[in-house]
Symmetry: C2
Subunit: 147 residues, 2 copies
Amino acid sequence: MESLTIGELAVRSGVAPSALRFYEREGLIHASRTGGNQRRYDRAELRRVAFIKIAQQVGVSLDEIREALASLPENRTPTKSDWSRLSARWRHRLEERIAVLERLRDQLTGCIGCGCLSLQRCKLVNPSDRLADRGAGPQMVLNPPSH
Amino acid sequence: MESLTIGELAVRSGVAPSALRFYEREGLIHASRTGGNQRRYDRAELRRVAFIKIAQQVGVSLDEIREALASLPENRTPTKSDWSRLSARWRHRLEERIAVLERLRDQLTGCIGCGCLSLQRCKLVNPSDRLADRGAGPQMVLNPPSH
DNA sequence: CTGCAAGTTGAAGTTAACTTCAGCTCAAGC
DNA sequence: GCTTGAGCTGAAGTTAACTTCAACTTGCAG
C-alpha cells in the first residue's frame, strides 16, 4: 500500500473525490498516474490535505493555502518542522478572528440588556458622528480603533 | 427629515445602495415610494439594517435573518425589548463559534510544537480509526464528541 | 427652466469552493 | 472474460451575497 487511490484518500481525509480533483487543478495537491490514467497519491499527500482542511477552519482562502504550500521544499518530503513553520503562520490570524468574535459577543451581551441596536447610541453599531472620519457602519466591532 | 433616501441610508448604515435594494427584494427591509418612484426609508429601518449587519458578523445567513426579522411586530415600530429578544437568539451560536475557534487555536498551538498535522496521530486531525463511527476527517475540532 | 447628481429597473456578472453530469475507460473479483 | 464499481474528462451548474451595467427618470440648486 505505497500509494492511495482517489477514493481511499477521500475516505482517509474526509474530502470528496471531486474536491481532491479540484485541489489538484488548483495546484494544491499532486498525484501521479497509473498506466490507465488513474490518480495515485503518495501517503505524504494526506498531510497536505490535513493542512488544507485546518487552514480552511482558520479562515484562510485556497489562494493563500496554495501560496503557503508552495513554500514547502519540492525536492524532499516535508518534515515536521516544515509543517510547524507553516502552521505558525495562521495562528496570529486565528487569534485576531477570535478576538473580533469575543468583542462582538461581549457587546451583544450588553445589547441584549439594553435592546438598543441603534446606529446612534449602541456600542455595537458605533455612531458615525463620533467616528465619521473612519466611515459609517459598525466600525467599533468590525475595525476597532486600537487596530 | 422624517425619511431617508437610499443614498442617505447607505451612508448612515455603511451598506451600499445596491445591497439595500437587494435586501428589499429579499424582504429584509422596507421602503415607501415618492410620487416619482424613489425609495424613502423610515428612520426605524436604520435599526433593521444595524441588526442585519450584526447578525452577519455573528455568522447568520440572510435567510435566517429574514426569518428573525419576520417575527417582529408589523403593526408597530419594534421596541427595545423586541430587538433584545432577537439579539439573544444569536448569542448561543456566537459562543459556539468562538469555542470552535478556541479549540482550534489551542490544538494548532500544540501542533506548531510537534509539527505533525498527521491524519493518523495529530489531535487536530483526529484519527479515523478511533472515531471511525463518526466518519473521517478532522472530527475532533469540527464536531467535538461532547456535542 | 436647466443641468446634473442621484435614483430606478431587470438582467447579467462576480467570487469561492466546490458538485454534478454525460459519456466514457479502468481494474479487480468471480 | 465478464461484470461492476471506481475512476476519468471538460463543461456546466450551485449557493450566497452582492455588484455592475445600460438605459432611462427624478429632484433639487441655481
